[in-house]
């Protein structure tokens, strides 16, 4: 997930901003950061959405990370 992609994401439930925590990243040839592993946190819902293998997973889930519905 490029940083430019991070900027267009929101919480799928409340549409609020997400805070990025990066665990693993690469730097692209363009100089842009590419997040490989990390977490996108919605503070108002108290939910963490994972970024895994470079793909943010924004399916609604509960606070324990269990995907709902």
């Amino acid at each position: 997930m490029k940083m430019s992609t991070y900027e267009i994401l929101c919480c799928p439930v409340c549409k609020g901003d997400l805070t990025l925590k990066t665990d693993k990243k690469e730097i692209l040839e363009t100089g842009e950061e590419d997040i490989i592993e990390g977490t996108l946190r919605c503070e108002s819902c108290g939910v963490d959405y994972p970024v895994s293998e470079g793909i943010p997973d924004l399916l609604p889930r509960d606070k324990k990370g269990i995907i709902s519905g």
């Binding site: 997930m1 267009i8 994401l9 929101c10 799928p12 959405y49 793909i55 943010p56 924004l58 399916l59």
Partner: protein, 198 residues
């Protein structure tokens, strides 16, 4: 089409390119401008997003199916796992969607990820209606949307859905395909309508 054709890696639970994919791809290639910010909703194998990536590096794809997300990401586009565009808060110049449209009853459902690529609910239009709700939020004021519909779904009924949302749609391409006819709708905001009501 330039360069080599993209062949997505096969996965049994990912919708593979079919006649509908190729018809939509043809319309996309005629429509796209090199500076377009592009999003493909429900990208599946990633075939279309991957071909677009050769022209515009600013291409994002979504899918609810994790296997589809990985297939599409391998072809280059930025991929977000989300339902339609639920986790996206930005406008795009070109929105592409080949929706699940087969009218499907409860007894016909199969419980796997491929179900999401095919099942359009009882009417065949359930996912298209959800998409019509989301479209104003992800299509810029001067943006365009290319949507595949089938005679099984009812092209005119689909056009009614968008006209109720103050959007204009036109059939720009069609193709007879076994027992259905496939159509490509080009959808834009009705800017004149905005002016009248603002």
């Amino acid at each position: 089409m330039n360069d080599k054709e993209i062949i997505p890696e096969y996965h049994e639970q990912v919708y593979q390119p079919e006649a509908d994919t190729y018809l939509l791809l043809k319309a996309v290639m005629a429509e796209i401008r090199c500076d377009d910010r592009v999003i493909e909703i429900g990208t599946g194998s990633g075939k279309i997003a991957g071909e677009v990536y050769k022209i515009s590096k600013n291409v994002t794809a979504t899918d609810i199916n994790p296997h589809a997300c990985r297939s599409a990401a391998a072809l280059g586009p930025e991929v977000i796992r989300t339902d339609i565009a639920a986790g996206i808060c930005s406008g795009f110049d070109l929105v592409i969607f080949n929706p699940p449209y087969l009218p499907t009853g409860e007894e016909e459902k199969i419980d796997d990820w491929l179900e999401y690529a095919l099942d359009g609910g009882i009417s065949g239009r359930e996912t298209i209606e959800k998409f019509a709700e989301a479209l104003p939020g992800i299509m810029d004021k001067n943006g365009r949307c290319l949507l595949l519909v089938s005679s099984l779904t009812g092209a005119e009924k689909v056009r009614d859905i968008f006209s109720r949302k103050k959007m204009l749609s036109f059939v720009i391409l069609s193709e007879k395909c076994e027992d259905e006819t496939l159509y490509i709708l080009r959808i834009v905001h009705d800017i004149c309508c905005d002016h009248l009501y603002s």
